[in-house]
């Protein structure tokens, strides 16, 4: 598989203009080789709950100029159906960036593991609910 571990991240902002305020933080993640953005899509829901979908290329000039260098590729894995489903989570008068990114740090580490004759047997994200349950059990045991 050419990709390292892939994550979906949807970030919601109030209003219907996707501004570039988040870009410096995102730039840090990308420039440091921590993540690699492989797809991105923007959605907006108006006050009347009308959903619009926008590509990277449809952003306003300044925003596009800031975003575009951070996006490594547009793999097209995010589809219109995704936009529709995710838009259901949006309150009226808000917008969201839907991002698919590769955990480049994990891929580099995995490559190093293979080079050292190792093998990644398991790599799971533990659901938050499970961690909270375990911590609660520990506290109960100590009480």
């Amino acid at each position: 598989m050419p990709y390292g571990p892939i994550e979906l991240l949807v970030v919601k902002f109030p209003g219907n203009q996707f501004t570039g305020e988040i870009i410096p933080a995102l730039k840090e993640l990308v420039d440091s080789g921590t993540i690699r953005i492989i797809d991105i899509l923007f959605i907006s829901k108006s006050e009347e709950e009308i959903v619009t979908e926008a590509e990277l290329g449809e952003l306003l000039d300044e925003v596009y100029a800031a975003f575009d260098p951070l996006v490594d590729e547009l793999a097209g894995l995010l589809t219109h159906d995704d936009a529709v489903e995710i838009a259901k989570l949006l309150p009226p008068n808000s917008s969201a960036g839907i991002m698919l990114f590769e955990n480049a740090w994990a891929k580099h580490f995995a490559d190093a593991i293979v080079a050292a004759n190792g093998e990644v047997l398991l790599n799971e994200r533990i659901p938050r609910a499970a961690i909270e349950e375990l911590i609660a059990e520990q506290l109960e045991a100590m009480a």
Partner: protein, 126 residues
Amino acid sequence: MMRRRTPPRAGRGVVGTVARTAVIAGTATAVSAGVSNSMQAKAQAQQQAQAAKAQQQAEFLEMQQQVAALQAQQAQAAVAAEPAPAAAAGGAADMLAQLAQLGELRAAGILSDAEFEAAKARILAG
């Protein structure tokens, strides 16, 4: 400015595909699959042990019933022919003890099922 070409964005997409594959895989991750396999094996072993125990209990009950039936027969015979009621009562208790012993021998694998059945029949025949 020349902006990059956008992909078709057709099809089920990420959300739909994750939902579908989760249903197919039964939402089991590698970790939970391993855990559920060993739990399944443990549950199976427990079930088998319980079934064996239940069967032994059923067989012992059956023996008790047969002994009780015999006791009833012997009691009737005792009424008809008075002497040696003590021997009859002692006989039933001995029989039960012998059958219990037989059961243990079978459970320990010393007697086969066939041998057990044969010996049991002999004891019950008196």
